[in-house]
């Protein structure tokens, strides 16, 4: 399998294929994650949400996928950082007068946007994921269920009522939107999928996706902060 390793980690085109495929996997995950989180809006004091988080942390298939997900985040981040460093070296000296002629504005800032997203992810994992895994969450009982469930709903509501955190969350989602605005269509180009038959489709779905998904996430803390007080 040396040929595959050489392609994915040494060839310029292969390394972008890794960015593309890992990016697409992460984008699919974001859809599932958003749909799950929408259960926060159900007016049942978090029952549906807590049953869902229990399922997500106990189902063996989901657990396997989540380990693949962690690996993918690391792969995308590490490969992205290496590409950015090598790209800077490949440019060498920069121009005294710079121009901004290009096709995709955010393309040049993918690494900066990505690093902010990574910092957000670390804080996010610490706040919610680590609490779920190791934290001392209160337990709740629901009628008709045999055992008690961890109440992740309570800490989520709590942080979403903290203004600095809400602002940080919203800004992070805007940054994510910019990353995806370029990333979505770029991922197809990296795989060689560029044809005038379907380019408009990629473009429009990309625009919709990069607006709707981050918007879906950022509406939650705003809803909790302003409406559900």
């Amino acid at each position: 399998m040396k040929w595959l390793f050489d392609f994915l980690f040494k060839s310029s085109i292969g390394r972008k294929v890794v960015m593309s495929l890992s990016g697409i996997f992460l984008m699919l995950f974001l859809i599932v994650h958003l749909l799950g989180n929408l259960q926060l809006f159900i007016n049942d004091a978090g029952m549906q949400f807590n049953l869902y988080t229990y399922f997500m942390t106990h189902n063996p298939v989901i657990k396997t996928i989540s380990y693949i997900l962690y690996a993918t985040i690391l792969l995308h981040t590490i490969q992205g950082i290496f590409l950015a460093i090598e790209n800077r070296k490949a440019k060498g000296q920069s121009y005294a007068v710079s121009s901004n002629v290009n096709k995709s504005f955010f393309a040049k800032y993918m690494i900066h946007l990505g690093v902010v997203i990574f910092i957000f992810l670390m804080i996010h994992m610490y706040q919610f994921w680590l609490q779920m895994k190791l934290g001392n969450l209160p337990m709740v009982n629901y009628p008709g269920k045999e055992h008690a469930y961890k109440d992740l709903y309570a800490p989520v509501l709590q942080v979403f009522k903290d203004l600095p955190f809400v602002i940080f969350y919203v800004i992070s989602m805007l940054i994510l939107a910019m990353h995806l605005y370029h990333g979505f269509q770029s991922a197809f180009q990296s795989l060689g999928l560029n044809h005038k038959k379907y380019n408009p489709l990629i473009q429009w779905i990309g625009i919709l996706y990069s607006i709707l998904i981050p918007f879906g996430f950022l509406i939650m803390p705003i809803y909790v902060y302003f409406i559900q007080r």
């Binding site: 040929w3 595959l4 392609f7 040494k10 060839s11 310029s12 085109i13 292969g14 390394r15 972008k16 294929v17 590409l83 090598e86 790209n87 070296k89 490949a90 440019k91 060498g92 000296q93 920069s94 121009y95 005294a96 007068v97 710079s98 121009s99 002629v101 290009n102 096709k103 995709s104 393309a107 040049k108 993918m110 370029h182 269509q185 770029s186 180009q189 990296s190 795989l191 060689g192 999928l193 560029n194 044809h195």
Partner: protein, 247 residues
């Protein structure tokens, strides 16, 4: 028209360079290179070293005239080489900043001249078809699909000028290499070696120290021959296919 020029001067590859300011009187019918000729005559008369810059055909087909004018390879006009840029696009009293192409794989040799032999080595790695020459064949002996012929022709318009590399924030040579891969690979004569050609040319491109493609699109915007990003996608496809299917 009177112009103020800020030009990058550098004695040799390893010397430290710096900008020097000159005053020149040009007329609006001159090409940009003719304006530099006027400056150089002036410098020679003053017994100073003339500004070294690459040029050859002066009709937009050789790709020699590399320089970055006010931050843009070949200057402000779309689909125009420096030799085809005319002074009427500038105004009396303008200050014009002229720099060499910048990329690690294109080291400055002197003033505005950079070493673009990396492109030659990419071509040597696969930018050809292996057939025995001899009697010229009948032009219609090999049928060519019309769509492929015109796409191939569009890619063949690449003059190897390097503006794509100069414009790219990553110093990537993907547009140039993709133009060559497409130009040959779309024609029946070039199809035979398509797979090995892609692999060899990309490998050479990587070894020369060019950057990766972030799909910024600056190359396409600055290319004097308007080579399309579609070619890069075609090369990506071909490379993925080559890796998955070759023996």
């Amino acid at each position: 028209m009177n112009l103020k020029l800020k030009i990058w001067r550098q004695k040799s590859q390893n010397a430290k360079g710096a900008f020097e300011t000159y005053q020149v009187n040009a007329n609006e019918h001159m090409s940009f290179l003719e304006m530099l000729d006027v400056l150089n005559e002036q410098l020679i008369e003053e017994k100073k070293e003339p500004v070294a810059f690459d040029h050859d055909c002066r009709e937009g087909i050789c790709g020699a005239c590399s320089m970055v004018i006010n931050g843009r390879p070949h200057g402000p006009n779309k689909a125009t080489t420096t030799c085809q840029l005319h002074m009427r696009f500038f105004k009396e009293g303008d200050e014009i900043v002229i720099e060499p192409f910048r990329a690690r794989a294109f080291p400055v040799i002197k003033d505005l001249v950079v070493d673009r032999s990396a492109f030659d080595r990419i071509i040597q790695a696969g930018g050809y078809i292996s057939v025995n020459t001899g009697q010229a064949q009948d032009g219609n002996a090999i049928p060519v699909n019309r769509d492929c012929a015109s796409k191939s022709f569009d890619a063949a318009a690449c003059i190897g000028c390097g503006a794509c590399v100069a414009a790219c924030p990553n110093g990537s040579a993907m547009l140039f290499t993709a133009a060559k891969v497409s130009h040959l690979g779309l024609l029946p004569q070039g199809k035979l070696e398509h797979t090995s050609r892609v692999r060899n040319m990309v490998k050479q491109m990587d070894e020369e120290g060019f950057g990766f493609c972030s799909n910024v699109g600056a190359c396409e915007a600055e290319c004097p021959k308007e080579i399309s990003l579609e070619n890069i996608a075609r090369m990506n496809r071909a490379m993925i296919g080559a890796v998955l299917t070759s023996e």
